[in-house]
């Protein structure tokens, strides 16, 4: 699978609908096209995956929630990022309670994902007329690794959810619920949006949610 990155056109003929095929082939294609246009591809520090989350109700089990998740695309380069970002509707055009998530690598936007269960989420209520701007800027800061002051992968996701009413939700996922890590995120947000006031903001560890469904095997691993 990994060796499929060569510019071999015959791959497409025998290709199956296997996620693992998508990225190498697309990346190879983009590289080829860019070489024609004399633009350098700009690789990202890590892959990032766009998800769509069509959450039907507020109180939902992990299974229901997972069923509403759709992977949109995994991007490896700056050009691929824009190629997806430019071709999906802006968050302000999403129906109530529908979200986009941009998650680092292949983690799912789930509290219970093994890579998220020890982390948390900084939530901001965002004035509706600022949602598109805030989503774009947070995505850029994330893929540009502008949150990563210490070479860590602490920020692992950006989410936006369209909501009825005056404000939408914007969220920043991280892997470290320490107060110091929370402070770094909030300071970055304030510096990115000096003129936007977020009426509500709070941080919550993923495992502290009432309906967090911890994996049984993980629990027993630590309890014995």
């Amino acid at each position: 699978m990994i060796d499929g990155g060569d510019d071999s056109d015959y791959l497409s003929a025998s290709e199956t609908l296997n996620d693992d095929n998508y990225v190498p082939q697309t990346a190879a294609k983009i590289r080829h096209t860019l070489s024609l246009n004399k633009e350098k591809i700009a690789p990202l520090a890590t892959e990032w995956t766009f998800w769509l989350d069509n959450q039907k109700s507020k109180f939902t089990t992990k299974e229901d929630y997972e069923a509403g998740l759709k992977k949109i695309f995994c991007v490896q380069t700056v050009q691929e990022f824009w190629s997806v970002f430019n071709n999906i509707p802006t968050p302000s055009r999403l129906p109530n309670r529908v979200s986009y998530h941009l998650m680092r690598k292949n983690r799912k936007p789930l509290w219970e994902d093994q890579e998220n269960e020890n982390g948390g989420i900084f939530t901001y209520r965002c004035p509706k007329d600022k949602t598109n701007t805030v989503w774009q800027e947070l995505c850029l800061a994330a893929i540009g690794e502008q949150f990563s002051e210490d070479d860590s992968d602490d920020v692992v996701g950006i989410s936006v959810q369209s909501r009825d009413g005056m404000q939408d939700l914007v969220q920043i996922w991280n892997s470290n619920p320490s107060e110091e890590a929370q402070k770094i995120i909030d300071e970055k947000v304030i510096s990115l949006f000096p003129n936007i006031s977020f009426p509500i903001k709070f941080y919550k560890a993923n495992s502290s949610h009432a309906n967090f469904e911890a994996g049984k095997q993980q629990k027993s691993k630590y309890s014995s």
């Binding site: 060569d6 510019d7 082939q25 697309t26 190879a28 294609k29 983009i30 590289r31 080829h32 096209t33 860019l34 070489s35 246009n37 633009e39 350098k40 591809i41 700009a42 690789p43 990202l44 520090a45 769509l52 039907k56 759709k70 992977k71 949109i72 695309f73 700056v78 050009q79 691929e80 990022f81 824009w82 190629s83 997806v84 970002f85 430019n86 071709n87 999906i88 509707p89 302000s92 055009r93 999403l94 129906p95 109530n96 309670r97 509706k128 007329d129 598109n132 800027e137 850029l140 800061a141 893929i143 540009g144 690794e145 502008q146 990563s148 002051e149 210490d150 070479d151 369209s162 009825d164």
Partner: protein
């Protein structure tokens, strides 16, 4: 295998000494290109990222973008591959009309052209 590629440049605007990256000493000029685990990484500033927004590849979606009726602005898989942007928008609009009477993603269809079309989503889904 392919053409040589440029080394990504780490660009940072330093307004304050605390903005200095921890590893600047290892990479004079600030260019970093490495896959060292836990080591140096690739940073891009906003200006660089925005400069790539309109590059030729980014105007059309990736060829493997899945078809999601309300979301990915691409024609249905069975339809022609090479459509112009306008065709895609038209096609998408008509798909939405057919597939999705509940969800109105098209600004043109907004009844009174409300700002950002936000109020139209106040139905309960």
């Amino acid at each position: 295998m392919s053409n040589s590629e440029g080394i990504p440049i780490r660009r940072l605007v330093i307004n304050d000494p605390k903005d200095m990256p921890l590893h600047y000493g290892e990479t004079p000029g600030g260019s970093i290109y490495s896959t060292t685990p836990g080591g140096t990484r690739i940073y891009y500033d906003r200006a660089f990222l925005l400069s790539r927004r309109e590059s030729p590849m980014t105007r059309s979606p990736p060829s493997k973008l899945p078809y999601i009726p309300e979301v990915t602005l691409i024609p249905k898989p069975t339809e022609s591959d090479n459509m112009t942007e306008n065709d895609i928008n038209k096609k998408t609009t008509s798909d939405i009309t057919v597939n999705n009477s509940n969800v109105n993603l098209s600004e043109q269809k907004s009844p009174s052209g409300k700002k950002e079309g936000d109020d139209q989503f106040s139905m309960d889904i």
